[in-house]
Symmetry: C2
C-alpha cells in the first residue's frame, strides 16, 4: 500500500482545500449541508482516481503529455466529489436513511428543503466545474453518468417494492447506482490529459469493474462478522428490506417454502421498519438470518464475486506503463477487496 | 401577434413530439412524473426562444448561416424545457405546493421519492442533450443558469423566513429563480448558430429582461382583479407568506405600526397555512389586503415596472435584422405584459 498511501498523503490536503474553498462560496442556506456531507465523505476515492488516471500513459511511452497550465486537474477531480455528494444527499432522503457512515444524515439535521436544494446546487456546481474545461467529452461523460446513477437508484427503489432473486438484475442495479460515476471519474482523468485511446479504454474498463467490486464488497460487509468485529454496524440492508447479493445467494440455497416465507418477512420488515428499530421478535429473526447468511458461505461468495471484478479491473491496467500511479491503482483494488469496514 | 402565433402553430407540434419521444425512453418509475409536469407546462416559452434566437442575425447581414445538419435545434430547445421542468418538480416539493397551473402537483400524485428522482433525471437528461452538441459554451451556460436558479430559490426561502421590504432584494431573487434560465434559453440559441457577438449580446440582454418582466407580471397577476375575472385564482403568494412586489409596494405605502402588524400577520399565515385553506378570520383579512393592494395602485405599479424591463428587452433587439423571428420576439414581449392569466 506504499504508493497509494503516499498519494493519499500528498493529494488529500490539496483536494480538501479545493473542496473547502468552493464550498465556502455556496449560498448560506446550503453551505452547512454541503460541509456536512463532504465531512462525512471519507476517502475522496473519486477525485483520487481522476488524478491518478490523468497521470497514466500507455506502455512503452516515456511519460504523459503534461497538462497545459490552464488544465489544473483539481477542479475536475473535485467536481466528481461534488457530484457524488449530491447523489448521496438526494439518496438519503429517498431511502429515509438516518445514518451515513455513522453520522446523522443531512436531511434530519438541516431539513429536507435545504438538503434537496444543496443536492441541486452541488450537481450544478459539479457540472459547471467540468464545463469550464471547454471539452464536451467531459461534460457528456458526466451528464451520462449522473443519468445512469439516477436510473440505478430508480431501479433499486422499484426492486424494493417487488424483489426478485435475479443476480443479473442486482448487478445491473449496483452498476447503475455506484459504478458509472466511478467509471466517469477514471475516464475524465484519461480524457483531460489526452492520453489516447489505450488509456481511455483502460480507464473505462478499470472504472466500471472497480465500481462493481466496490459495491459488492460493501454489500458483503453489511453481513460480515469481520466488519462487526471492526466496529461497523451490520444488517442495514436487511432492515431496509434491500435484497443484496449475500441475501440473494442465501435465499437461492434454501427450500422454496422457506424462501417464500423469508421473503415475505423481509418485505414486511422493509415496509414497517421504524428508523431501523426492531421489535424483539423481529430482532431475533433478523439476527438468525444474518447468522445463516454467514454460515452458508454467502458472504464469502459475494467477496469471491467482487474478487472476479477486481481481477477484471486489474487486467485493464496491463496496457499501461507500470508507473507509481499504475501501482497505486492496483493497490486501490486490493484495498477495496480487503477492507474491513 | 400574427408572427408569434404562426411560430407556435409550426413549432409546438415538433417540440411536443420531441419531448414526448425522449420522455417515453425514461425509466418506468419516473416517466409518469415527467409526463405529468410536461403536460402541465403550457406554452414551451423556453424552447421557442432558443429556436427563434437560433434564426436571428445581425442587422445588415443577408441571412443567418444555416445550422450544420448535425445541429438540429430541437434537442437543444427541448433540453431547456426538461431543465425548467426539473426545477418545477423540485420547487413544488420545497414550497409544499398543492397546485401548479390548476393541476395537482406531481409529488402529491406520485410521491416525493419519485418526484425528486424525476427532477434529477430530467436535469441530467437536459445536460446530456446539451453536451451532445460538443460545444462547452452551451454546457457552461446551462450549468451556470441552473446554479443561479437554485441559488435564487434558496434566497427566496431564506427571505420567507425573514422578510424585509427591499425591492432590490426582491428583484435579485426573481432574477435568480426565473430570469437566468430564460436568458440561457435565448443565449444558447444564439451560440449554437454561431451568429456572432452582436446577436449573443442581444440574446443575453433580451433574455434577462424578459425573464424579470415575466416574473413581475406573474406576481402582479396574483393580485389582479383582471386575472380573477379571467378565472385565475389569486392570493397564492400571500397565503404562502411570500412577499412579492405588489405587496412590498403596498406595505411601503402604509404607516409603520400598521406595516409591522401586517407583516407579523403574513409571517404567521405563511407558517401556519394548511394547504392554502384559511380560517374565516384569516380569509377576511386576506381578502382585505388583496383589495388594499389593488386600490392603492400597487398592482399597476408592478406592471409598470414590468413594462420598463419589457422596453429594455425590446431595445436589445435593435441591432438585429428585423425579420419575422425578430418580430415574433417582440410579440412575445407584448404578450408577456398583457396576458390576463
Amino acid at each position: 500500500m506504499h504508493h497509494l498511501q503516499q498519494f493519499f498523503k500528498d493529494e488529500l490536503p490539496v483536494i480538501n482545500d479545493y473542496l473547502g474553498r468552493e464550498t465556502r462560496q455556496l449560498p448560506e442556506l446550503v453551505r452547512p449541508v454541503a460541509e456536512h456531507v463532504l465531512r462525512a465523505g471519507g476517502k475522496r476515492l473519486r477525485p483520487l482516481l481522476t488524478i491518478l488516471f490523468s497521470r497514466c500513459f500507455s506502455a512503452g511511452k516515456k511519460s504523459p503529455d503534461p497538462l497545459p497550465a490552464s488544465r489544473d486537474i483539481y477542479p475536475l477531480a473535485c467536481a466528481m466529489e461534488f457530484l457524488h455528494s449530491a447523489t448521496l444527499l438526494h439518496d438519503d432522503i429517498l431511502d429515509g436513511s438516518d445514518l451515513r457512515r455513522g453520522q446523522t444524515t443531512a436531511h434530519l439535521i438541516f431539513g429536507r428543503t435545504e438538503t434537496i436544494l444543496a443536492g441541486d446546487v452541488l450537481l450544478a456546481l459539479g457540472n459547471r466545474l467540468v464545463a469550464e474545461y471547454g471539452d464536451t467529452r467531459l461534460s457528456w461523460r458526466v451528464a451520462d453518468a449522473i443519468m445512469r446513477t439516477a436510473s440505478g437508484e430508480i431501479q433499486e427503489l422499484e426492486w424494493i417494492k417487488n424483489p426478485t432473486l435475479s443476480q443479473e438484475h442486482y448487478l445491473e442495479i449496483i452498476t447503475g447506482k455506484t459504478a458509472y460515476l466511478i467509471q466517469a471519474s477514471c475516464h475524465c482523468g484519461a480524457l483531460v490529459s489526452n492520453s489516447g485511446p489505450a488509456v481511455e479504454q483502460a480507464a473505462l474498463d478499470f472504472g466500471i469493474n472497480l465500481g462493481i467490486a466496490f459495491q459488492l464488497t460493501d454489500d458483503a460487509l453489511d453481513y460480515s462478522a469481520k466488519a462487526e468485529v471492526a466496529g461497523k454496524p451490520v444488517g442495514n440492508d436487511l432492515r431496509e428490506g434491500k435484497l443484496t447479493l449475500p441475501l440473494i445467494s442465501y435465499l437461492e440455497s434454501i427450500a422454496e417454502h422457506q424462501r417464500h416465507e423469508t421473503l415475505a418477512w423481509i418485505r414486511d420488515l422493509g415496509a414497517t421498519s421504524d428508523h431501523g428499530v426492531l421489535s424483539d421478535q423481529n430482532r431475533a429473526r433478523h439476527d438468525q438470518i444474518i447468522q445463516a447468511v454467514r454460515s452458508t458461505g454467502c458472504v464469502q461468495q459475494t467477496l469471491d464475486r467482487a474478487a472476479h471484478f477486481v481481477s477484471l479491473a486489474d487486467n485493464a491496467l496491463s496496457n499501461l506503463e507500470q508507473t507509481r500511479e499504475c501501482t497505486a491503482l492496483r493497490e486501490a483494488l486490493h484495498h477495496t477487496l480487503h477492507r474491513e469496514k
